[in-house]
């Protein structure tokens, strides 16, 4: 009897096993969450080893006529190519951003680039824009892939070791953008707040150095910071006043704190280190803009509505050799 019972149990057990194995599925698992990238600040601004970061080369004077660049010069090579290759931004509202209606990149920086193209070709449209990130500015100049960089490019002693600059064409400084009604009133009140700045920039490095109790949050660029800000993922954004003005212009609930900038950011037009002739030529172009009032007209069009009248075109410092 026990043998029969065992056999019956075995048969029924097998049948049950077959039936049950057909029914159960392992649940589809969720993927492992991606690691949250940690913000990467550029090395904190190196101590100034020079006192002439804004000093550039004497302007080329008189400027050659458009289309008649001096033989053997960098400008002649650009003229030969037929277009000026400009590294710039496409999402820095007011300085260089793409107008969705026209598709054109426009802004204060673009006006500077067009002035250079006009001086070389007599046609401001003979430029090829290359949209680059802040981190690409120096490598692309060194590689010769762009002729000039006009992209909120601060002149520093360290950068002079790698590239050359025109005279300062705009004097900016780092500030803070917050929500209307925020309790943040300046650098000293950032403790415990999430503050965004683009990865790999001196803005993030300055934030870490000057407000160590703030929680830095990195983004690909300042517009990326604005997206985080609008989503409520950060409390503030820090960057150059020009850039922050562009962000505030896109968000009616964002304001740039009315305070003295806590860094000095002299913008220059970057060229390859060996192309000092091009830097001197651009200095001549900037002098023309000063005399003709075009610099001021451009400032009034793009920046004055958000930054006020300002202090005008910076006084040039020449004499670099």
């Amino acid at each position: 009897m026990s043998g029969r019972r065992i056999r019956l149990t075995a048969v029924l057990g097998s049948a049950a096993l077959l039936l049950t194995t057909a029914c159960g599925y392992e649940a589809t698992p969720l993927p492992e969450p991606a690691e949250t990238p940690t913000p990467t600040a550029a090395s904190p601004a190196a101590p100034q080893e020079c006192s002439n970061a804004t000093q550039s080369y004497d302007p080329l004077s008189p400027l050659p006529e458009p289309g008649q660049m001096p033989e053997g010069s960098t400008m002649a090579a650009i003229q030969e190519r037929g277009r000026l290759i400009v590294g710039t931004s496409a999402d820095t509202f007011l300085l260089a951003s793409r107008n969705p209606q026209s598709g054109e990149v426009e802004g204060f920086d673009i006006d500077m680039a067009k002035a250079v193209a006009r001086a070389i070709f007599g046609d401001e449209d003979r430029i090829q824009l290359r949209i680059i990130t802040a981190a690409e500015r120096i490598p692309l100049l060194e590689a010769g892939e762009v002729d000039i960089v006009v992209r909120a490019f601060s002149m520093t002693c360290a950068r002079w070791d790698q590239v050359a600059f025109s005279q300062e064409y705009y004097h900016s400084g780092q500030k803070i953008l917050v929500r209307q009604g925020s309790d943040i009133t300046g650098l000293s009140s950032l403790a415990g707040h999430k503050v965004c700045a683009p990865n790999g920039t001196s803005s993030l490095a300055n934030l870490v150095a000057l407000a160590p109790d703030a929680e830095p949050v990195g983004a690909a660029n300042h517009t990326g910071c604005l997206v985080l800000f609008q989503r409520g993922e950060v409390d503030a954004i820090t960057g150059d006043d020009t850039v922050l003005a562009g962000l505030a212009a896109q968000d009616p609930y964002a304001v740039v704190l009315d305070e003295e900038p806590f860094t000095e950011e002299p913008y220059g037009i970057g060229v390859a280190k060996e192309n000092t002739d091009l830097a001197a030529f651009i200095n001549g172009v900037l002098e023309q803009l000063r005399e003709s009032g075009e610099w001021n007209a451009s400032y009034q069009r793009w920046l004055a509505p958000y930054l006020g009248d300002g202090t005008g075109q910076p006084a040039p410092v020449y004499g670099r050799s």
């Binding site: 029969r4 993927p31 598709g103 824009l129």
Partner: protein, 443 residues
């Protein structure tokens, strides 16, 4: 009746009956007429008891149980195959559904990114196509969650991601219409999120449903269903031999009848399972593979188109996006390998894309954008639309073929299972009847 099976040995010597059963019924041609008493040591015996009538009664029960057990086991194996076939249809349906979700998401992304190139005022037909693709995605997610509970956690996360994607795209479009560059950033983030967060979810859904579908389309082994039948046939044959040795009649009609039924049912079940396995292999390598490959090709085509538009949005710094385009194009070519029509369509799009790249690299961004957004004959948009329509229709055809074939297979299995149960019922009666005839010889 059972004596008829004994041929010329109609009158046989019965085994020594147990004590008190020495006299066989008289006047019956079906029962022994004499009951000799050979030496006890030489008398054949049935296992389970030295007492033949008791042993016969026990064996009657054992064989009935064996037939029932065989029927249960065979029906269970067939039931398992039925279940596998049915769930195979469901899993393949789910897999194709997930592929369609992925294709439509990438199609929506391709449309949205391309629309950014024409400025804030999107063409209404592009907006409608984007909305239709996303609506299809959301309805497919609901269908998929109903179809496979094991996918629900991932589908919930997917639904969350799709909502987030749609919301970001909405903000991108709203900002773009106002001329604000933050719109392009929302677009980039939505596209990046699609690839970094949403794609792993879809990959998991595809991997696990592929495994489930694969498991359902394999394992239809005819040996498994034939083995219990063979064991039962051996048992019936052996018992018939035992009876023949005792009753000196070669065949017991009841046992023979049961054996014929078991053999027929076993062969039938084996053939059904065998053909099911063969059909499943054919589907896996045929229509099923076609459906998943074409769906993947459609997804990769949308991915390539998005990279093309992102390249132009990045204006002059599109190298990273071109790498993405090349990678997506290679995926398309792998998936459509051997389909000349589709290869020709993709070649047309590739040629149009190369013109766009050439214009962009020559510094003529406006011309590149004009080429990328043109919709006339010979344009990249037209070539891609033709490719999408062709892959979409072919995927739907292949999916229908898979569903139809699996539906037919499951009915064959169901019929075989019912036939097995009926055969077992009759075989149990036959075995019982055959042994009863022998037991009567002792009553």
């Amino acid at each position: 009746m059972s004596s008829a099976a004994t041929g010329g040995r109609a009158v046989a010597t019965a085994p020594p009956p147990a004590a008190g059963a020495a006299v066989a019924p008289a006047g019956s041609a079906l029962v022994p007429t004499t009951v000799p008493a050979p030496p006890a040591a030489a008398a054949p015996r049935l296992p389970l008891s030295a007492d033949v009538p008791t042993a016969l009664a026990r064996w009657q029960a054992v064989l009935a149980i064996a037939v029932v057990a065989w029927a249960v086991l065979t029906a269970a194996i067939l039931g398992n195959s039925f279940d596998k076939t049915r769930t195979g249809a469901e899993h393949t349906g789910q897999l194709i559904r997930v592929h369609e979700i992925e294709s439509n998401l990438f199609l929506a992304d391709a449309i949205a990114t391309n629309a950014f190139l024409v400025g804030g005022l999107e063409p209404p037909e592009q907006q409608a196509a984007y909305d239709a693709a996303l609506e299809r995605v959301t309805s497919l997610i609901v269908e998929a969650a109903e179809a496979q509970p094991a996918d629900r956690a991932v589908l919930e996360a997917l639904n969350h991601d799709v909502l987030r994607y749609a919301e970001q795209m909405q903000q991108a479009r709203a900002n773009n219409r106002q001329g604000l560059p933050v719109g392009a950033q929302y677009l980039r983030e939505a596209s990046a999120q699609l690839r970094s967060d949403t794609l792993p979810l879809l990959d998991n859904l595809i991997t696990y449903n592929e495994q489930r579908a694969d498991g359902s389309l394999t394992g239809h082994t005819w040996v498994l269903v034939v083995l219990p039948g063979l064991v039962l046939l051996l048992l019936l044959g052996w018992f018939n031999q035992q009876l023949a040795a005792i009753f000196h009649r070669r065949l017991n009609l009841g046992l023979v009848g049961a054996a014929v039924l078991v053999a027929a049912a076993t062969i039938g079940a084996g053939v059904v399972i065998g053909s099911l396995g063969s059909d499943a292999r054919g589907l896996r390598e045929g229509a099923f593979a076609t459906a998943t490959s074409l769906s993947s090709a459609r997804t990769a085509a949308g991915d390539a188109r998005s990279h093309e538009s992102l390249r132009l949005i990045a204006r002059g710094s599109g190298a990273q996006f071109e790498e993405g385009w090349i990678e997506a194009s290679n995926r398309v070519l792998t998936e459509i390998e051997g389909d000349r029509d589709l290869e020709n369509l993709w070649e047309q799009y590739t040629a149009a894309h190369e013109e766009i790249v050439a214009a962009d690299e020559a510094g003529d961004w406006d011309e590149a954008v004009a080429l990328a957004t043109a919709t006339g004959e010979g344009s990249a948009s037209a070539a891609l639309r033709a490719f999408d329509e062709r892959t979409s229709a072919a995927t739907a055809d292949a999916s229908r073929t898979v569903a139809d074939a699996l539906g037919r297979g499951s009915w064959q299995v169901a019929i075989a299972a019912v036939a097995t149960i009926l055969a077992a019922a009759i075989a149990t009666v036959a075995v019982s009847w055959g042994i009863t005839q022998r037991r009567r010889e002792f009553s």
